[in-house]
Symmetry: C2
Subunit: 219 residues, 2 copies
């Protein structure tokens, strides 16, 4: 997400006609992509821990210094993605008649079912890595916190409540928590139909008020 913002920023006040996508910008984007690509390949080939930043830099034909200019940490190569803006847009586009949870479900589906197989493959591997490597799992926590905040604000906007209210925080927390608990089985991957099915089922259960035997909700 930071990546996206960076890549799209334009160095000077453009010419609306020819939007100054300057050679510089393009080269930067290419370098970033190259580093990420080589990194992921090496991770796949020899494992995350075994792949040093130096090796990645060498493979991408840049210096280690440059690597760290593009990615503040080694983890960031795997962690960072560009889906937030898409998900936000998709959520905002949902018709007001559907429930919040349903709107969310549709947004996720809309974004991720629009991916070509290659990207799906890449995403799947990315998530597998994140589940598998402890350092990356840890780094995801920040990601989830951010998701809760994002979701609270988005839902607040939709239903017209204060995003700081305990109710909204609880709602967002519960939702993200459910995803967290269900989205990954032991071995990563959310994007196949099985994954969607599991998520749908869990969300429905949540929307029904988590009716466990012996839990007897408010009734």
């Amino acid at each position: 997400m930071k990546s996206l913002a960076e890549d799209h920023q334009q160095s000077t006040v453009g010419d609306p006609g020819r939007p100054t996508v300057g050679l510089r910008e393009r080269k930067k984007a290419r370098t970033r992509a190259s580093i990420r690509q080589h990194a992921m390949r090496l991770f796949r080939e020899q494992g995350y821990g075994e792949t040093t930043v130096e090796k990645i830099a060498e493979a991408a034909e840049v210096s280690p210094s440059t690597f760290f200019r593009y990615f503040p940490t080694k983890e960031d190569v795997v962690i960072s993605d560009d889906y937030d803006p898409l998900l936000i847009a998709a959520f905002r586009a949902q018709p007001p008649e559907v429930s919040v949870v349903e709107a969310l479900r549709r947004s996720v589906r809309a974004v991720f079912s629009g991916l070509d197989p290659e990207n799906i493959e890449r995403e799947a591997y990315r998530h597998q890595l994140m589940e598998t490597v402890p350092e990356l799992r840890a780094a995801m926590y920040t990601e989830y916190r951010r998701s809760i905040d994002l979701l609270a604000n988005l839902v607040a906007e939709r239903v017209g409540l204060d995003p700081e209210s305990p109710e909204l925080r609880a709602f967002a927390g519960a939702l993200v928590g459910v995803m967290l608990a269900v989205a990954y089985t032991s071995e990563g991957m959310v994007l196949d139909e099985g994954g969607f099915g599991r998520i749908d089922r869990a969300l429905a259960f949540l929307e029904a008020g988590l009716p466990l035997p012996g839990s007897r909700p408010s009734a």
Copy 2:
């Protein structure tokens, strides 16, 4: 929690009479406590990032090697706690008439309201650190995953369901997610009455099926 297990294990098959709490074990416990204590003090005085392991080791009068023998990572000094067994016991002790959420609420209250002011203070600072320092926030992720698993198993045991079922996972995920979202305001700390109040409110909201306007649960 690992700590507790380690500290309480007895090296040899005891003598029930004199339980071989041997001088060795006691010294180990003291060393561990000392390291942790000095570390926390230094963190408070000069900040987490500014306090090197070397400094901690020096303050506790051990070698850096020894530090890492007691705590696998620097983060672990802050992250690890000993409450899991207490919470488990408290939860198991709850009468079967109360709802799962209520049982949980009572367990948490029981454990944390039994703390003396000094421990409360320490806990509060611990959590503040964990919220504040990015590395520690990240490390907590693993903690939350573990909590979900633990909770799923505990509840499964109580209501007699498969802990791997999506319903139970969702339930545990939602609960932990709610805690995650609500327990900390911007600056840590869960253990005062305000914290309990917020948690209670959010849990009640969850138990009621998260009735947001425009959310219209299953009805």
